[in-house]
């Protein structure tokens, strides 16, 4: 047992804690800046394969950020966020290919419809908590999944194709180019993460955290916890729908699989991998998940089996996520 290890065990004084917090914040800033620079430079640094993976990571990251507001921010575990991902994709699919609306109108209209739907769904779901909440969100997503398969409007289980990417010709760019699309997704991701960070650190976010720690106490303090939970549900749904819009544009395609139970579970897995308490967690989780999935697909075709095993291991061993594990490592070093 070394000298340093013994010192690390003693509880830190108040001054040390403040210094450590400042150090952690500095480290976080440096890390965030490094990641951002790396993300900006990525298309120049490496082949198109990395750009493709990065697009998938960012879309997954936005989806997981939405789930994180419920899971980490409010303590509600939803297994139905895939429905909002799907609604986002189907929204612009129906808007552009069926109704013939321009994309710049379809996207806000889709997000607005999703927000209204989410307010209604959230009002029902947030009457429950714990596993009942998990089950009813699952039931809602299964209902939309069934509707997407059955309805003629959504072209059944074949899905809708020909979903347009944004028209950027007015600045002389073609978004069918992977690099251009990459920067488009990057800008949306930065905006989404910044917004999520702002929401979590706002007074609204503090009330959500209070609900997570003790719903009764938050209610006793006079907060209308029901409304706050519905608010969190709506914001989470908008984030998931935004991810769905990007996903549909990325593949030019949307089908009922995007609303499946498994996809919602993948989002929850990303949040748990990354750690449910930080803003960066969902992005880290999405990165680990997408890279692991790619790595696995090289090794084996039995994706589902390894997805399940991976999921179990993460839940059993890294419940607090990689970001928390890293923080803990930093703590014990200093």
């Amino acid at each position: 047992m070394s000298e340093e290890a013994t010192i690390a065990r003693t509880p830190p004084t108040a001054r040390e804690t403040v210094a450590l917090a400042a150090q952690v914040q500095r480290t976080t800033c440096v890390l965030a800046a490094a990641v951002l620079l790396g993300a900006l430079a990525l298309p120049w640094l490496s082949a198109s394969y990395a750009t493709t993976l990065a697009i998938e990571i960012m879309i997954g990251g936005i989806f997981a950020s939405g789930i994180n507001l419920l899971l980490g921010g409010t303590g509600l575990v939803s297994l139905g966020q895939g429905m909002f991902l799907g609604l986002g994709g189907y929204g612009i699919g129906i808007g552009t290919t069926v109704l013939g609306l321009p994309l710049w109108l379809s996207v806000p209209a889709t997000l607005l419809v999703v927000a209204i739907l989410a307010a209604g769904i959230g009002a029902v779901c947030t009457r429950t908590r714990g596993v009942e909440f998990l089950l009813i969100t699952l039931a809602f997503s299964q209902m939309f999944f069934g509707a997407a398969i059955k309805l003629r409007l959504t072209n059944g289980s074949d899905g809708m194709s020909g979903i347009p990417r944004p028209d950027l010709t007015f600045v002389g760019l073609n978004s069918d180019n992977p690099v251009v699309f990459y920067y488009y997704v990057l800008i949306v991701t930065i905006f989404a993460v910044a917004a999520m960070r702002r929401i979590i650190s706002s007074p609204f976010g503090s009330v959500l955290a209070a609900i997570r720690e003790s719903e009764r106490r938050a209610a006793a303090m006079g907060y209308a916890v029901g409304r706050y939970k519905i608010g969190a549900f709506v914001i989470a749904a908008i984030a998931c729908a935004a991810a769905g819009v990007l996903q549909a544009q990325y593949t030019y395609f949307i089908n009922p699989d995007s609303m499946s139970w498994q996809l919602s579970g993948e989002g929850v897995l990303m949040v748990i991998i990354g750690g449910a308490t930080t803003v960066a967690g969902p992005l880290v989780g999405a990165a680990v998940f997408v890279l692991a999935k790619q790595g696995l697909s090289i090794v084996t075709t039995e994706y589902m089996m390894f997805f399940g095993i991976f999921f179990m291991l993460v839940v059993a061993l890294f419940r607090n996520g990689l970001v928390e594990a890293l923080k803990a490592a930093l703590w014990s070093k200093s």
Binding site: V77, L79, V124, C125, R127, T128, R129, G130, V131, E132, L134, L135, I136, L138, A139, F140, Q142, M143, F145, G146, A147, I149, K150, E215, R216, W261, Q262, G265, V268, I272, E302, Y303, M304, M305, F306, F307, G308, I309, F310, F311, M312, L313, V314, V315, A316, R319
Partner: protein, 292 residues
Amino acid sequence: MQVFLTQVLNGLQLSMLVYLLAAGLTLIFGLMNILNLAHGAFFTLGAYCGVVVGSSTGSFWLALLVGPLLPLLLGIALQSMVLQPLAERGRSTHLDLALLTFGLLFATAGAVEWLFGSAFLSIPTPMALSGHLDLLGISYPAYRLFIIGIGLAVAAALTFVFDRTLLGATLRAGVDNRAMVTALGVNINALFAIVFGLGAALAGLAGVIAAPLTSVYSQMGITIVVETFVVVVVGGLGNLRGSFYASLIVGMTNAMSQAYLPEVEMFAIYALLIGVMIVRPQGLFRSVERVA
């Protein structure tokens, strides 16, 4: 009228199949506070076990006997070797364990696909039950009546055990107040493992008896388990009697929508669930209020 009667019987048969799953799921939740999302995995395993035994020996009855054994053993092992130790190490929040079993559900489906491929398998209907029976002026497949019979028999047996035996009394006490039961000297971990195993075995039994009717494929459990969740929530989580009635409601809704309103078939039961959640979020048949 005859069409309607056939649909009622179909609904009854669906109800009983779902009930076999729901009974175990709701007992496991009521007693251990674990939402076992992997319950569908035992359904799949039972069915595949039945297919293997049935095709190698040619006997449906042997398959029916052996099919639930693997789920029974795996259920006991899962509870006593994975879930219980995790709960004791502070993962008692049931959401963690629910997510773990979610992973297990997909791992099992993947493993089955890896072992058996993605082909659709089946068990032939046993000779003795392959005919039709005349019933109230309609001719109905004997095998479906057999399923209804098994479901009712299991329901009766469970009610008897639950209401009239020492095991049942211990179970009811465990649902009400787990700490007190432990204090009275009951080995609660053994009880948990037994209930988990029996619940898994019932799911496996459902898998075997469903095999001659529906095709056996790796994701069959994932499909049916969502219906089972609807049943246990409508019946009230942890309420055995409630899940019997809820099975009837869900099975009938399913059968009737399939017959008369096929366009709403995929979401009729979910609409039902959402309606129940709006009116009575604690389930239709829950008498005791659960405190948050």
